[in-house]
Symmetry: D2
Subunit: 262 residues, 4 copies
């Protein structure tokens, strides 16, 4: 399906504020960028680089005062996501080298402390895809979706204790549990068609049966219409904006709608 998605962010800085933005999806295996725009107001100079996860990162110095970033993409994506009940785990010795880093604990996913919980949650699910799906279902059942409980320093362990959080937190718990079972898992941030209320979104992917599969513990059913902006080990790697000086987001608007083809 073809989607038009974008966001409009206004920032306010007392002084010039160096920052890195991650707001540009990249074409890959699963999504194709038909058109795209990325504008600054006031107009400033930006430099782009690719980080170790393959994400396009925009380095800018936000000028003192108000600064606005508007990005929009028209993109072809799958209208449904692949599911594969019964898919077996990939044995550690057969994992592609680039997936191994997604087995390690990270800032918000201290998977080294999730052993027991993960085992209990998946109970007697068949190893592999079904475990990841059991984890997703466990989170949906045990963690409440609620704003205001978590913030930027909340880890998966904190979310377990609180029993509530938002998409970011749900993903961190899912990733931590997968890694505890030695299933590579990574964070995805992006857009989801028909998300309600509309916002930027986060979910996770688990590597089983020789490929990455999408899991979203905030949703009752597997849903397509997803646009990946960035991958990472957890939220630390995929912040839409990483600032290196005082910088406040004063407004943010996000949209995702269907676009006509051709």
């Amino acid at each position: 399906m073809r989607l038009r998605a974008g966001c409009d962010i206004t920032l306010q800085a007392p002084h010039d504020a160096p920052m890195v933005a991650m707001l540009r999806p990249r074409s890959g295996d699963a999504q194709w960028i038909v058109s795209e725009r990325y504008e600054f107001d006031p107009l400033i100079r930006a430099v782009e680089y690719v980080d170790v996860f393959g994400n396009l990162c925009q380095r800018i110095v936000a000028p003192a005062g108000n600064f606005r970033i508007t990005t929009e993409v028209v993109i072809e994506v799958d209208s449904s996501i692949a599911v594969s009940p019964g898919a077996e785990p990939t044995p550690p010795q057969s994992l592609p080298a680039e997936t191994l880093q997604f087995l390690l604990p990270s800032r918000y996913c201290p998977s080294d402390t999730f052993d027991k919980l993960a085992r209990d949650a998946v109970a007697d699910a068949t190893p592999g895809y079904d475990q990841a799906e059991a984890i997703r279902a466990w989170i949906q059942e045990h963690i409440q979706y609620r704003y205001g409980v978590s913030d930027g320093s909340t880890s998966a362990a904190d979310t377990l204790r609180d029993g509530a959080g938002v998409c970011r937190d749900f993903s961190h718990v899912g990733i931590s549990m997968c890694r505890a079972l030695r299933i590579p898992a990574r964070m995805v941030v992006g857009y989801l068609y028909r998300l309600d209320p509309m916002d930027l979104h986060a979910w996770f992917e688990a590597f089983v049966g020789g490929r990455w599969y999408t899991f979203d513990a905030t949703q009752k059913e597997p849903r397509g219409g997803r646009i990946t902006i960035a991958y990472g080990r957890d939220a630390a790697d995929v912040a839409l904006i990483t600032e290196f000086a005082a910088l406040e987001t004063t407004s943010m608007k996000v949209w995702v709608e269907t676009a006509e083809t051709g």
Copy 2:
């Protein structure tokens, strides 16, 4: 300055034809993509990857019959190019590792056979930038710009013998001579504002004084308004279209114009 540049290519294939296109500029140090579109007609699925030079490459299978690719970019670029008479050569032991491959001979730049010519052409120019500039001037004086002399298999050695060629050939001669003097040199393909007649263009860059500088032997004066699409060792690496089955380009239109800011 802000430019709007694009091309519209129609291809014709008797059977489905796998191909790689290189038609998507990337934001970097020297150019910033404000907006972009990339469309196929009929609509097909594409996969994008980054090659060893950092170029974005689009893998597609052109369907049998007529197939059309339209790309357009609105981009911020410099309106003039940096020049630096007197800039010294970077000693081999201080060259950044990633520049070393641009010292090696390549398909169309057999620099291992250009020693004497390069030395004669630069005569007593100061080593470094002035040598690269002397090479550019030598080419402009000694090689005629003329269509129909060269084709896709013409090397810099062939161009010397023929005494004529087009932008691709001028670049190959410049690169071969620079490398013969142990100055890293690479091929650039892209757009040039006010090129006449308008077409996709090629020029070269030489690494002296610790950075890459632009040289274009087809132009009398240093000119900005350049959009880089791809870098490579020579034309073999930066073909706009590399086909793996019969495929004919039946029409191609290129445009570059100024765009309004904001």
Copy 3:
């Protein structure tokens, strides 16, 4: 100076145990491998890959029963380390892209929670090198070197609370405080000549004044004779052995001595 360093590790596994080892230093800017050996007993097949930090990683399946790895390297390293009091911080917008990931919080370095502590610790030290050095000194003064307090899941926040730890923990605190001040900092594991008692060691590097500098909060004086085995964001990335099944280290011996040249 030329050093001979190595380790001899015996592992015991109830079943075949897939694992990744990181026991092979690499030649780079600051160290040159003169000779090296890396042996398995019983002899098994290994595969090597390079991770995102540039570390050489050995993938093996440790056979059930006892398994022994012996590695040794003869290497040229600096006998003293560079110090640079007064070196200025590199402004965020000028940091090399590859250093940016070392500003982000990580599993054992939750730098997003170290703001106040870092500011207090450096007090009125000049921004840059002197701050990193003040952090090193602060750790030496405030954290006790003591075995048995920390384990593999201890973070820098835990170490602060405990007031004690080992080289790994000292490094995590140093890294967290540097990052809180927006100084890129990374973990190093390796060998240190004359370390007492001899063991594998960990320290940290901070990026100031345009380059990486070495800091070791376990030592009273700057000391050279260091061999880097691996770099990472924290201990999660640079485990000598990451196992994916039950696997116990039953013995480990480490040595570092001077070697004769030529």
Copy 4:
């Protein structure tokens, strides 16, 4: 099988001569370095980096006068090479992205001019492995192994005209013909056990049936006991020594023998 292989090279330079050496094999899927040494006489400082093909490259400045490099490796390799008659070509659209560059023409492999020859040589061989093998056999039949015919600037086209060459030239012809048939092919330099007379050696690999296979047109039978030092598009990329100033090789000794295990 376990091999001990090495070389001892003496160079002579009138002045300090910057150079890059490629004399250090790397452990990978098919070979495991048990031990290794790499010495300079006189002792100098070297820096190592990894090139775009994944080869370890040593940057040094050879001091004026005599300079000696001695390298030796003890390594586990396969005693026979994989053969796979009937293996099908990998369709272009399914080729791993990193193999695509090995379809392009290069300095010594002007594959864009080998179309007809390649087609004639493989005649009615089944597409895929059998074509690559037919090419290998064709070269063995039509090109004479003879020293003194070729030098460092000899291309595959030159070798065809001369009807004679050495291992480097045989490889270039094989690579050019494979690429003309749209089979990715790359140059390998390394050691071959029982090569007679002993020397460093070159062969080629072709990508068919989803993996790289080894072909050596200088040998009557498929032979194992191969140690890869470096991969490249052709000899330009894998020179053992690339010098950037006057530098003469005054002697070179190469050895490969079996080593005892454990």
